[in-house]
Every structure is written in structure tokens, then in C-alpha cells.
Amino acid sequence: MAALGTADLITAAERAALATPGVTGLQPFLARRLTEAVSPVLPPTIPERAQTSAGVRAEHAPGGSGWSIEVRCMVMVTEGHRVLDTARIAHDQIQSAVQAHLAEHGAQDPVTVTVTVTRITVPPAGRVP
């Protein structure tokens, strides 16, 4: 769906992730080589398959299985909030945000969100709960 900017979608996912309490940042993916741009004759095409930004990868699978969003984030643990709890909230917030964004463009693709926690920090003062 070239009309729907993937970049905007990624931004929506990023914002939702960073707004989740307990998420301290996103973990950059290693820079992807766009190996699909093979021939020097044809203009390089950015595949709509996968675009990345710092921390969010979005892929649109053709054929109805919708959008697949992968978010890699860093998390701080606090009393009563395990990594799992924060990851769940992040998941739900990202999914809502992406669905809302799609709905604004009249799309209703299913959205699957995967959250990967790459780093855990424990606040300096307290003990690990």
C-alpha cells in the first residue's frame, strides 16, 4: 500500500512505545543493506517489504495477513512492574496506535505486534525486586 506512508506508521509505533511507562528507549536495529537494489541500470527500489528505524521494524505482508510490527525496547524495572508487565502494556499501546493510524487512512488490516526487550535497567537506589 504505497499510499499509506510506512514511515508514518513506524513513527506512530515509536511514539506509543516510548510513551509506555517503564520503556526507557528503543534499541536500534543494525543498519539493513538494501540488497534488493541490484541492477545499476534500474533505479534502486526501496522494498515496501521492510523498513526500519531506530527500534521499530514494520512489514506489510501482501495477501491479507496485514501488518507485522516489531519493536525492540529497553525497559526499566520498578517495584510491582516486571519486564513482562511493561512489555504487555507496550504491546497493547503500540497495537492500538497502529490500528488507529490505519483506521485514519481507511484501512483495517490486522496488526500483529512483537515486542522484544533488549536491555533491562534496575533503578540505582533500590534493590532488584
Binding site: V77, L84, H91, T116, V117, I120, V122
Partner: protein, 212 residues
């Protein structure tokens, strides 16, 4: 020791000693007592010829250019951007696809093991448990240094409990097994070795005999 390097212009002193050896001995930071050297005039002369070099070396050691630790920040930025995540393990949610990087979980579990007195964790690997009835079970394998003032099984049991507790309460990870191997003995707190000349790094801190 025979001179075996063809280019080495070693001299034999009149007393029969090799110049290279006499110098070696004189410049050794912890020289052994040698009755010959203490009384031999040609050895004395050979050693005296080094006096200026010895003094200048001492001065140079004191002037070692200082490395700013702030320079480490540049390295750490690169290191953190090339994070080694390891495997991705499932967090304990039956429905959602939530994962944690092995390296992130390992840090928390190692810290839990470290908090058991007399224990320091070294390796900490996690893998999906394939024998678990829950799809999201994780198996942990730890190696430790442990002090021997208590029976090891007691200690490793305490570590096991601490690890499972931290996995559940801090991370939200369903641990089905904790395999522990004690790989070395932990010394009781020791006094550091006397410093070698100049800015030599400290000797190994783990009490193992230096190999190599």
C-alpha cells in the same frame, strides 16, 4: 645462558658473567641476592654504567601520559550500538509475542546469583525449554565461582532459588530448570599484590596461578 642470537653483541665480562645477564639482574624489580655481584668490580662497573638509564627510566615511569577515562565513552557508544543480544526467549505470556534478549535476562539473573554471599556468576545462558509442558518455559545454565566455606550443594541451591525468584519477580520469565556448574573457587577477600614498576596493570585478581 649461551648467546644464541647471532646479532646480539653480548659481552663477557672479565669475571665470566655475560653483560646481558648482569644488566638483567640489576634491572629486575625484585633482584635475588647474588654474592658474586655484590663483590665483583667488573660487575659493579657494568651496573654503574646503567645508572643514568635507570634514573631516567624511573622518571619516565612517573610521567606516563594519562589516559582520559572519558575517552572510553566513544568506545562504549559503539559497543552499545553493536549490542550482542543473544537468543530471544519468550516472556511468560500465553498469548502475546513478547521476547527478551538472552543478554538482558542474563544480567538480571547473574546479579541475583551475585547477591548470594560467596558467589560470583560467570556465564549465564538461557534456552527455550523443550521438555516443558508450558510453551514458554526457559532453561538456565550458569557457571559460578563460589567460596568453599559452606557445602557447595547448599550454596548452589540458594543460587537456584535466587535465580528462579528473580526470573519470576523481576522479569516475568518461566524458568523450568537451572543448571549450575561451579568452575572455580572464590578466594576470601585478599590483599592486592605489590605493584610492579611503572604503570603495570594489577596482577590477576582471581587467585589462579598465572599461566602463560
Amino acid at each position: 645462558m649461551a648467546v644464541d642470537h647471532p646479532l646480539s653483541p653480548d659481552e663477557e665480562l672479565t669475571c665470566g658473567r655475560l653483560l646481558s645477564q648482569v644488566w638483567d639482574q640489576a634491572l629486575n624489580p625484585a633482584p635475588a641476592e647474588d654474592p658474586h655481584t655484590m663483590t665483583c668490580p667488573s660487575c659493579h662497573e657494568a651496573i654503574a654504567s646503567l645508572a643514568a638509564l635507570k634514573a631516567a627510566t624511573r622518571a619516565l615511569r612517573g610521567q606516563a601520559p594519562t589516559y582520559l577515562q572519558s575517552l572510553a565513552h566513544g568506545v562504549m557508544n559503539i559497543v552499545r550500538s553493536e549490542a550482542r543480544l543473544g537468543r530471544l526467549l519468550p516472556l511468560a505470556d500465553p498469548v502475546l509475542d513478547l521476547r527478551i534478549a538472552e543478554s538482558a535476562a542474563a544480567k538480571v539473573l547473574r546479579q541475583a546469583a551475585d547477591n548470594v554471599p560467596g558467589v560470583r556468576a560467570a556465564a549465564c545462558r538461557l534456552a527455550p525449554a523443550d521438555n516443558s509442558d508450558a510453551a514458554d518455559g526457559v532453561a538456565v545454565a550458569l557457571t559460578l565461582a563460589a567460596s568453599l566455606d559452606r557445602p557447595l550443594p547448599e550454596r548452589t541451591d540458594e543460587v537456584r532459588r535466587a535465580v528462579i525468584h528473580a526470573a519470576e519477580r523481576t522479569i516475568g520469565l518461566h524458568v523450568t530448570a537451572v543448571d549450575i556448574t561451579v568452575i572455580e573457587a572464590l578466594d576470601p577477600p585478599h590483599t592486592p599484590d605489590p605493584p610492579s614498576p611503572g604503570s603495570a596493570p594489577p596482577e590477576t585478581r582471581d587467585g589462579r596461578p598465572r599461566h602463560g
